[in-house]
């Protein structure tokens, strides 16, 4: 039964599922389309289970961290588990969990401000990174710098207040060179995705099952 523990079975499952979904996309054969739709629905269900698995993994990891008194880590693990239990229990108490006052209080007064603060800190890093990284060293960096400045002056109303031409130039950069560059990236990504998909279907790429 060693073949069950090997990687040929999952690779075979991936090949069959991938082939069915791909064929159903291009050829409208009701039987194949039906199977393809069932596979996609399973994928959604499995994704739901994956979230549950992630939760279990987090709990196990942090429980271990506390049990082993991991240096510099375990106090944060305690905080995680306390918040995790409080949030989960308060959510389960009320079927319309989002209206449970404890749940809403925890979310509104702990998670939400922390999440917004983390995001807001980015602004400070962007400012310091902008003036340290955007330096003219050659003609290419000059283009990047000038384009960046023009787009900034387009996005901020003060650009138009300084000179009405700034938004016109900035919009042109977004509409023409940026769009052209993005399309090239999208096409390249698309071709790369097709090739990666083929490699996965044919079993050459096995990173998703541990190499």
């Amino acid at each position: 039964m060693s073949w069950i523990r090997g990687k040929d079975v999952p690779v075979g499952i991936v090949f069959i599922c991938g082939l069915i979904v791909t064929v159903a996309y291009f050829i409208n054969v009701p039987a194949v389309v039906g199977v393809s739709e069932a596979i996609q629905t399973w994928a959604v269900v499995i994704a739901g289970f994956a979230i549950g698995l992630g939760v279990v993994n987090m709990v196990v990891f942090h429980s271990d961290s506390i049990r082993k008194r991991a240096s510099g880590q375990w106090p944060y693990s305690v905080v995680f588990l306390v918040i995790f239990v409080a949030q989960t229990v308060s959510g389960f108490f009320d079927l319309a969990a989002l209206k449970n006052p404890v749940y809403v209080w925890l979310y509104s007064n702990i998670f939400s401000p922390l999440a917004e603060a983390m995001y807001a800190i980015l602004g400070f890093f962007i400012v310091s990174a902008a003036y340290r990284a955007m330096r003219v060293r050659n003609i290419e960096t000059a283009f990047v710098l000038v384009s960046g400045l023009l787009v900034m002056l387009t996005n901020a109303p003060i650009g138009a207040a300084i000179w009405e031409g700034f938004p016109i130039l900035g919009k042109w950069i977004l509409d023409v060179p940026t769009t052209a560059g993005n399309r090239a990236i999208f096409i390249g990504t698309g071709i790369g995705t097709i090739l990666l998909g083929l490699r996965i279907l044919l079993g050459y790429e096995r990173g998703y099952i541990g190499g």
């Binding site: 739709e37 996609q40 629905t41 994928a43 959604v44 994704a47 739901g48 994956a50 979230i51 079927l95 319309a96 989002l98 209206k99 809403v104 979310y107 998670f111 939400s112 999440a115 917004e116 983390m118 995001y119 807001a120 602004g123 400070f124 962007i126 400012v127 310091s128 902008a130 003036y131 340290r132 955007m134 330096r135 003219v136 710098l145 400045l149 900034m152 002056l153 996005n155 901020a156 109303p157 003060i158 650009g159 138009a160 207040a161 938004p167 919009k171 977004l174 509409d175 940026t178 769009t179 993005n182 399309r183 999208f186």
Partner: protein
Amino acid sequence: MGTESKKPRSVWERLEHMDPRISYWLLIFVIVVPFLRPLGLPISISKETQSFYNTLDALRPGSVVLFDISSGPAAYGEIGPGSIAMMEYVTVVYPGRHEGGRLRIAIVSGGEAEGAIMYEAYARPRLEKAGFQYGADYAWFGFIAGGETMVARLADSIPSLLRNDFFGTTIDKLPVMKGVSNYKDVSVVIVWDSVDATAWYVRHWGAKGVRVGTVCVAVEIPAYITFYRSGEVFGIIGSSRGGAELELLVGKPGVGVATTDTLSTSHLLVIILIIVVHIGLLARKYLPSTGKR
């Protein structure tokens, strides 16, 4: 090496290698001041925002709008103004301009589990306040896992994934979902997006002819302008600036307009810092007494 680090720096070197903490304090200053003394700079309406508004306004009453909340509170600073203005338009302005007719709204959260909280905080209160009836005018289906696969499946068969709403009511008992079976029955999709979910809908709904609009964070704008230029995205409410524009179109200036002055001052600060650093860079390079390296 140690000797070199102890050598006093010239003014130009100090300019070129400015302590980041100075920029942090300056940033706090230029953010706070406009709140105390607003500049009131005029805000022009971009064609992406105008198109977003016009497309929604052209929908006939009773049209089905699939509304995906794929963002959490972290991105509220960017998405909040546009989200609130959009809800104001859907719940108040649209019925006012269409003889009381309403859009039918199906709400899911496809890219972000925290969308549930965003729904509770910013969508449901405004729908209820405007007298929208749950089940008849709108329905909430909660977070559905699966990302892009879910979006693809939803296009083909809405009842197969949205069998029950968030509260367990089966879809056939929700009048708002009557006759809605797949992408053909949905007029437009709107995504509150901080996780690239708009691109999922462009690939699986836009490719089938459904128009997609987005309220997105700033870093997503360049990619979505590409979709806008090709006609796959009908409008973009980009970050707080786009939100401010929509607030003006809707006729209810709010937090977006209030924060647009800080957008101006903070961007101006970055530009000034870049210029200052380059003065130091050029001076050190071309002035002989500044210790060219």
